[in-house]
Subunit: 215 residues, 2 copies
């Protein structure tokens, strides 16, 4: 008797994500899935990106959180379309949740759509949402050894933003050590050190994003 | 027809945890489950606790990580018993994993056993491991709004350690705001601001732990 082994356990999720991506493509929307630990600076980076990109692109944000609207209220103050998804305990966003969220956004009036995923360095990495690119924000205070301990996240992403670089002088942190840890599992992923406070590194990071969105 | 609804979905886990707790009790071991986001300073706090408590108590550590032995190598350098559990992608420790780990530790020769859980502010909160008390470490760089966004974690724990308080001068962080956010969901949990670097607050935190372990 042949025993069937289900290898792609995320196929149902990925099929829904593919349909969502087609919907975004038909509206000319480029979508970025932003993942990170709790408190790595996802919302702060998004706010800095919004201020830098808003003259050139029509922007929108979908906010994922276990609970609260703390982050979406900050985004709404910038006057751009924002939608909050509360997972009610769930530890990541999935394609099903997003397939219900995209039609609630004014897609025809958007160029770039940012998804702020739930703060989680493990579970979020397994779920495609219909995005075009995925990034992880790794904050300086988390330490330079995180790629060794959460290898899947640092393997699946298209770019890594190192946030809060203005805190390096006050910490035992080495960007060289961090880069070495990343390169051991992901030889080619681009790494962008950024401080949303001093704006250092923001131009290089936004340039990459702009180029990717134009492809 | 009556439809049976399973309400305590963690009952199987909790039953195993209860048996492990009885094993620890029979050996006179007090066990602390340490939870936090990635990079909140779990290992650094444990190392500071070990140095402070090792003259008075016989200590042991069980390290939980998705991958690597980075943390357990640091603990082993202190010359105390340490066991590494690698979840291989799993986003939290569970009672089953721990029931296999406790007998591998020299329980008859321990007073305090620390479990460093996987870095995750969501999934870890749902799983008892056989521990006597559970804490979360909330680091200053994560921001003072985390209790609003991860309410379950801040509800289930017996104590909260605020780590990296030496970074407060360089950040937009208010300990009063953080305390207010905690109190909205957990009116009585003790909060211990601590810097493992300057040792400030370590005495009050270790006093609490010592008292709890003596009950």
């Amino acid at each position: 008797m042949e025993i069937k082994v289900l290898t792609n356990i995320h196929k149902a999720n990925d099929d829904i994500a593919d349909r969502s991506r087609a919907l975004l493509d038909s509206n000319g929307v480029f979508c970025l899935n932003v993942m990170a630990s709790p408190g790595a600076g996802k919302t702060t980076l998004l706010l800095a990106m919004i201020r830098r990109l808003r003259e050139k692109f029509r922007l929108g944000v979908i906010e994922g959180d276990v609970s609260s609207t703390v982050d979406s209220e900050k985004i709404a103050k910038e006057g751009i379309p924002v939608l909050q998804i509360n997972t009610g305990g769930g530890c990541h966003l999935d394609a099903n949740q997003l397939s219900g969220a995209y039609p609630e956004m004014p897609l025809a009036d958007l160029d770039l759509l940012f998804i702020e995923n739930v703060g989680n360095l493990i579970c979020t990495a397994g779920y495609q949402l219909g995005e075009h690119k995925r990034i992880v924000i790794a904050s300086v205070p988390e330490g330079d050894d995180k790629p060794y301990k959460y290898p899947n996240m640092f393997t699946v992403v298209d770019a890594i933003v190192v946030s809060k670089t203005d805190l390096i002088p006050y910490m035992n942190y080495s960007l060289e050590e961090f880069t070495r840890a990343v390169r051991a599992i992901n030889p080619s992923v681009p790494i962008f050190p950024v401080s949303a406070t001093t704006e250092e590194g923001m131009e290089a990071w936004c340039d990459w994003l702009e180029k990717e969105s134009a492809r």
